[in-house]
Each structure stands twice: as structure tokens, then as C-alpha cells.
């Protein structure tokens, strides 16, 4: 059993699986569709990670005939952009009508994605889309926090699920911008020598740590905000 898990999982997949289980426990009965959608999103993420890990093993065994697992993460990018943007639209609706901003952001990402598909296909990382998406999510997060600061009402931030969800996004995407920006340079050095893996591991721990706490807040600490 342990041997199977060791062979078929990684630290990242373990963190994501824990995040998914917490989301499942906390949000499956949530009355809000946007929050409940997080369960599906995390399920898709976990599934992608597991498939990615499997493809990586196949690739390492037969580099001549198997493509690297980048294409599956390129597919995950679509879900990432959609789920997170929609969630931002929901969270920003507490302060403003952000539908137009979110739709424009999604349209931009769509155009870039299609451009990259035609430019270099699906087997090469869609770095332009990923970078733009990171920047967009950082901007959305800052915009959200700007409204939190401007709001006259006092928020119990320690128990505010929305705040922690956005905090996770900001830390992860702002932190990963450096790795995304230097992606081309990092591609020239060997996989084992890259620091991006431990960095991503720390960022993923931050993201899923914040999100898991947000889900717990949503379930137990801020019941008044469920509907």
C-alpha cells in the first residue's frame, strides 16, 4: 500500500489531495454554488496531477515515443482560468459588479491560449497564457483587497473564508511570477538543478493551506455567510 502510494504520488499531489478532502468535507453541502464548485475544481486538479505523474513516468521510461506531461497541465489551465475567475467574480460581487472585468480577462486568456495552441501546439508549456493568468489573478486579488480596505464595515478577517481564499491566490500567483518570468532561462538548466520545484512546493503549501483554512472557515467559523 505504502509502496504503491510512494510510486504513484508526489508531495504536490499529497498536498492537493488533502486540500481536496478538506474541500469535500467542508463544501459539499454548501448552499453557495461557487464555493461548492471548488470541490469539482480540486478534484480536476488532483486527477490532472495523478495523470501527469503517470505520464511523467512513461516519458522517463521512453523519451523517444512519449511526450512530456506538459500538455495535461495546459488542459488544466483552462479549468484553472475558468474556476478561479468565476470565483473572483462571486467574491467581488460583495462590493461591485465585476462581470465585465472578469469576462474581459477570460476573453484575453482565451485569445492567448488559442494563439499559443496555433503557435507551438499543446506539447509545449503555454507560458504566455500562464504568465498573463498569474498577473490577472494578482490584479483581481489586489482589487479585492482594495475593496476590503475601502469598506466601512469591519470584517472578522480571521474567520473570513473569502479573505483567506484570495490571500492564498495572491501568495501563490505573486510568488510564482518570478518562476514564470524566468521560465525560458530555467529551461536551459537541468531539471534536478532547478529551484523552481522546492519553490512551487512551498507556494502550493501556502495556497492549499490558505484555501483549506478558508474552507474550514466557510464550514464552521462563518456560518452566517453560507447563503
Amino acid at each position: 500500500m505504502f509502496e504503491f502510494l510512494e510510486k504513484n504520488t508526489s508531495v504536490n499531489t499529497n498536498i492537493e489531495t488533502v486540500g481536496f478532502i478538506i474541500a469535500l468535507v467542508c463544501l459539499i453541502r454548501d448552499k453557495n454554488w461557487f464555493w461548492r464548485g471548488m470541490v469539482l475544481y480540486l478534484f480536476i486538479t488532483c486527477l490532472t496531477e495523478l495523470i501527469g505523474l503517470h505520464i511523467k513516468k512513461l516519458y522517463l521510461a521512453d523519451m523517444a515515443h512519449v511526450h512530456p506531461n506538459i500538455w495535461i497541465y495546459n488542459i488544466l489551465l483552462i479549468f484553472q482560468a475558468a474556476f478561479i475567475s468565476v470565483m473572483f467574480q462571486h467574491l467581488l460581487s460583495r462590493y461591485i459588479d465585476s462581470k465585465l472585468i472578469i469576462i474581459c480577462g477570460l476573453a484575453l486568456l482565451g485569445v492567448l491560449y488559442v494563439y499559443e495552441v496555433f503557435d507551438h501546439g499543446v506539447f509545449v508549456k503555454h507560458n504566455l497564457t500562464t504568465t498573463t493568468m498569474s498577473v490577472l489573478f494578482v490584479v483581481y486579488s489586489l482589487y479585492y483587497f482594495y475593496h476590503v480596505l475601502r469598506d466601512d464595515r469591519y470584517l472578522s478577517l480571521w474567520h473570513d473564508a473569502s479573505f483567506w481564499w484570495v490571500a492564498g491566490i495572491l501568495l501563490f500567483y505573486f510568488g510564482s511570477i518570478a518562476s514564470v518570468l524566468y521560465f525560458q532561462m530555467l529551461a536551459t538548466i537541468s531539471l534536478h538543478a532547478r529551484t523552481t520545484y522546492p519553490i512551487y512546493r512551498i507556494l502550493i503549501i501556502m495556497l492549499y493551506g490558505c484555501w483549506s483554512y478558508a474552507f474550514i472557515c466557510r464550514k464552521w467559523l462563518s456560518p452566517g455567510l453560507k447563503t
Partner: protein
């Protein structure tokens, strides 16, 4: 190989440093939001405390006004109406039916004393009615007061009320404004000997202005400021200040008096 190793190290260090900087920035932002939010909480609590203090002040003022009203009623009943009725009783008791001419004079005096008692009783009744009148809203309460003053036939009263008054009223402030108006009218009726009274209620820029003036005997402002009887001019100022307002009084001997009250509203 060694050169390549250095190159790897440089890029890795660059990425690591940049990532650290990129992580510190949002961490500070989150910290700032927490600190700002705590300040916001403190500010809200202070505001709430101020509101509670203000409400307590208003309640205290209302209690004081009520207490003073009762004192005025008590003093009037004892010193004024009581004396008038005693005098009436004494006059009626001293009538000698054998002397019809003298008796008629005493009966007329008794009738006059009774009329004065009724007039005094009506004045007291008005004081007790204040809170019921204010239930109709400040403009209607003022109109009722004007009607009452006109009824005597001794005064010509003009009343102008701004139609642009805020839809949302403040009953606490209304009562205090109304009591000030009542006191001003009482002073005019009792001491000024006026024939013309003008009342104007206006609302501009979040401020309610009540202006009352008469063509009576007026008074010397320097000698009149401290509370002398009832609410007095001094108390009018004090009441207005409690609800964040101010009173401007202008008068001179033989030139009537003008009282303007400015109250932030609602």
C-alpha cells in the same frame, strides 16, 4: 561543466531571491490589511460609544426638560393659579348681597380672576401636550402652536415652514426644538407685550434653522443670560448645544427680540 554549474547557481539564486521578494510583498500587504481592519474596528467601536453617549445625553436632556416642565407646572399652580383661585374665592366670599352695586364689581373681579386662571391653565396644558404634538412631526406641531397663539386674538402670527424638510426626522431633536419654541413663545406672551410674532423654519445643507422674532418690548441681553425662570434663555442655549446646535439671540430694550436656533439635522 564548472561554468555551467555557476550559471545554474546564478539563475537559481535569481529566481529564489525574486520569489522571496514577491512573497514578502503580499505578506506585508496582508499584514497591513489586518492592522487597518483592527483600526477600523476600533474606529467603529469609538463611533458606537460616541453615539451611545450622545443618546444618553439626549435622554438626560429630555428628562431634565420634563423635570423642568413639571417644576414650572408646580410653581405656576402654586404661585399663579393657586393665588388667582384663592383671590377669586376671597372675592366671592366677600360679596355682600345687600349692596348690589358693590357685589357686581366683586363678581366682575371674580370673573376676571377666573378668566386669568383659565388662561394660565391653558398655558400649562400646552406644556404637557408637547410630546403628543411632536408625534405629528415638527412642522405640524409648530402649526398647532401658531394656531393656539392666534386664538387669543392678541397676536398676529406669521409662520413660514420650508417644504424641503428631510423625509427622515429625528424625534429627539424635534422635541428639543419644539420645547425651545414653546419657551420662546411663552416668554413673548408673558413678558414682551408684542403684537406681531414671526416664525420661520428652514432646512439647508443638513442644518435646521428656526427663527422667532417679535415686536415686543425686548430686553437687555447683558442682564438676561443666566437662568431666571423655567427654561430661560440660558437653558435654550444649553439644550441646543447638547444636540450639536447653537442659539443666536438678538434684542434691545424697546426693539423686540429675535431668536435663531441652528441644529444639525436629522
Amino acid at each position: 561543466m564548472v561554468i555551467a554549474g555557476f550559471k545554474d547557481l546564478d539563475i537559481n539564486e535569481l529566481v529564489l531571491t525574486t520569489t522571496l521578494i514577491f512573497l514578502i510583498a503580499p505578506a506585508f500587504l496582508l499584514l497591513y490589511i489586518f492592522i487597518y481592519n483592527r483600526r477600523k474596528k476600533r474606529h467603529i467601536e469609538e463611533k458606537e460609544q460616541m453615539r451611545e453617549n450622545f443618546e444618553a445625553e439626549v435622554v438626560k436632556t429630555q428628562m431634565e426638560v420634563q423635570e423642568q416642565t413639571m417644576q414650572t407646572i408646580g410653581a405656576d399652580l402654586h404661585d399663579n393659579i393657586g393665588q388667582l383661585l384663592s383671590l377669586t374665592s376671597f372675592t366671592l366670599g366677600s360679596i355682600e348681597l345687600d349692596d348690589p352695586e358693590k357685589a357686581r364689581g366683586k363678581i366682575n373681579a371674580a370673573i376676571d380672576l377666573t378668566s386669568r386662571s383659565i388662561k394660565e391653565m391653558r398655558l400649562l396644558g400646552r406644556l404637557l401636550q408637547g410630546e403628543q404634538l411632536i408625534g405629528m412631526g415638527l412642522p405640524d406641531a409648530i402649526r398647532q402652536e401658531v394656531k393656539w397663539a392666534e386664538k387669543s386674538g392678541q397676536y398676529q402670527v406669521t409662520c413660514l415652514i420650508d417644504e424641503e424638510l428631510p423625509a427622515q426626522n429625528n424625534p429627539d431633536k424635534d422635541l428639543i426644538i419644539f420645547r425651545i419654541l414653546q419657551e420662546a413663545l411663552n416668554n413673548i406672551i408673558k413678558h414682551a407685550g408684542a403684537t406681531q410674532i414671526n416664525i420661520k423654519l428652514m432646512y439647508t445643507g443638513g442644518q435646521l434653522t428656526l427663527h422667532i422674532n417679535d415686536n415686543g418690548s425686548g430686553f437687555n441681553l447683558n442682564g438676561q443670560m443666566p437662568a431666571q425662570s423655567g427654561m430661560g434663555l440660558y437653558n435654550m442655549r444649553k439644550r441646543a448645544e447638547i444636540v450639536g446646535g447653537r442659539v443666536n439671540i438678538e434684542s434691545a430694550q424697546g426693539e423686540g427680540a429675535s431668536i435663531t436656533i441652528y441644529i444639525p439635522y436629522p
